[in-house]
């Protein structure tokens, strides 16, 4: 009798298992059908579309940064022109005239002035739904020369609803030290990026970007000092660093000639730094000629493994670079654009102004002059003319 009950129970259990198996198989089949439909749809929807080259345009900018004893300002120019509707060339010239009396400088060295100049050239080539961008830049300071090359490919798929991108950059820097001709070093940088922009609805779109960054060589400053047992010693940084960054963005039309955007980025690297960045912004047309933007941004990071405000043991690596400390900064920014003249299909000229206020708060970097934790405020001003022609 007991054996019959066990047998019946086994049969029931077997039946339930078979039923579950059947349901699981149906779910798998449904999933496969949806997956196949998606792949087929993506391939079939490419069709005979073609991406357009970026519009010909020019920008002339005056930029100013002022904060923490540093003032950096200068002009920048950009001109983009297409040739035969297949290739678009862009030339950029950028100047940073820096006057540096930052806390590092005033507590361990003398204030200085220097100018950085950067030249960049890039070409975009369009073929069907793809765009290929090849770029090169060179940046010169009296004690630092940086050369960079990059290639990026973007491809529209799924009937133009999705845009995927792949990119690679390699930078090569030569580092020297003023007054020390015997010091000469180098740094190499690699960046690999992958991204996708997706139209979600007729009013909303989002993007996701991933980037892997790898640096090798001299990754500090030959002037900066660290503190060990209260004494100043030259900083010692690892000669390799690898980081990963992921950024998500969402932008939506709110329906009243206004829009909002939301951004989040997570970063971590092999120096044990973890950072979060969040931004929320709002944009609105004011009349026919004005466009206003406002945003709030928050950034926070943890310190590098070898960062120390005042080390109490001798270690292979030690740094008091406050960029590697634990800190956060919050920004409020606004931008205003005024369309001076617009002739649809021919040209458009805009005047623009932007201002950003930022407050930095350091958690483990002290001002050696006062003994209290350091903090400062900064301002960014941008005035520029942009034209589409």
């Amino acid at each position: 009798m007991a054996a019959t009950r066990r047998s019946n129970a086994r049969l029931r259990a077997g039946g339930v298992a078979r039923l579950r198996g059947l349901r699981a198989a149906r779910r798998r089949a449904a999933l496969l059908r949806r997956l196949a439909g998606l792949i087929g749809g993506v391939l079939a929807a490419s069709g005979a579309r073609a991406v357009d080259l970026p519009e010909d345009h020019a920008e002339a900018l005056y930029h100013l940064y002022n904060g923490g004893g540093v003032t950096a300002q200068g002009p920048a120019l950009l001109v983009r022109k297409s040739i035969a509707d297949k290739v678009s060339l862009t030339g950029t010239y950028y100047v940073d005239a820096v006057s540096n009396a930052s806390i590092d400088v005033v507590t361990t060295a003398s204030p200085y002035r220097e100018t950085r100049q950067e030249f960049a050239l890039s070409g975009d080539y369009v073929y069907r739904d793809s765009q290929i961008t090849v770029a090169a830049s060179t940046s010169h300071e009296p004690d630092y020369v940086a050369n960079n090359g990059s290639i990026d490919v973007t491809q529209e798929v799924f009937g133009g609803m999705t845009n995927v991108s792949l990119g690679f950059s390699r930078g090569s820097d030569r580092v020297t030290k003023k007054g020390s001709p015997e010091f000469q070093d180098h740094a190499t940088h690699w960046q690999y990026r992958l991204g996708a922009t997706q139209i979600l609805t007729p009013r909303w779109l989002m993007s996701a970007n991933f980037e892997a960054l790898s640096d090798d060589g001299f990754l500090g400053s030959p002037y900066r000092v660290a503190r060990v047992f209260g004494a100043a010693v030259p900083e010692r940084n690892p000669r390799t660093r690898t980081g990963r960054a992921v950024k998500l963005r969402l932008i939506g039309d709110l329906g009243n000639r206004d829009a909002m955007h939301l951004e989040y980025r997570y970063f971590r690297d092999t120096w044990a730094i973890k950072a979060h960045t969040a931004e929320l912004g709002y944009s609105r047309y004011l009349g026919q000629a004005w466009l206003a933007d406002a945003y709030a941004r928050y950034y926070t990071q943890s310190h590098a493994l070898f960062y120390s405000d005042n080390a109490i043991s001798e270690t292979t690596y030690v740094s008091r670079n406050r960029q590697l400390s634990t800190f956060n900064d919050g920004s409020l920014g606004a931008k205003l654009s005024y369309t001076v003249r617009k002739i649809p299909g021919r040209y458009e000229v805009k005047l623009n102004g932007a201002y950003e206020y930022t407050r930095f708060k350091f958690k483990d970097f002290t001002d050696v002059r006062t003994g209290s934790l350091y903090g400062y405020s900064s301002s960014v001003v941008q005035l520029y003319v942009s034209a589409i022609y």
């Binding site: 087929g40 830049s137 820097d173 007729p202 950024k247």
Partner: protein, 83 residues
């Protein structure tokens, strides 16, 4: 397990090839649900993720030299390694 996976792979490959056709109603491809004529609002400059390149480059540089985090900005090309 291998033999069970093979038909599944064949199914995906076949439906991917036949994606554009409507021969098999069960494999109907997922169509782009926002048609080109519905993208007028998305084409407005207010909806651009990146509007002007020089101001963006300036902000990126200002942040790169003060914050440890870099990358995934969605901007093409690499920032200069300058200090």
């Amino acid at each position: 397990m291998k033999t069970r996976m093979r038909p599944a792979i064949a199914l995906i490959a076949a439906s991917a090839l036949l994606g554009g056709c409507s021969m098999l109603p069960t494999f109907k491809p997922i169509e782009p649900w926002v048609k080109p004529y519905e993208r007028e609002r998305l084409a407005d400059p207010i909806m651009k993720l990146s509007r002007d390149s020089l101001p963006e480059k300036h902000f990126e540089h200002v942040r790169d030299v003060r914050e440890a985090a870099r990358g995934a900005t969605g901007v093409q090309g690499g920032g200069c390694g300058c200090n």
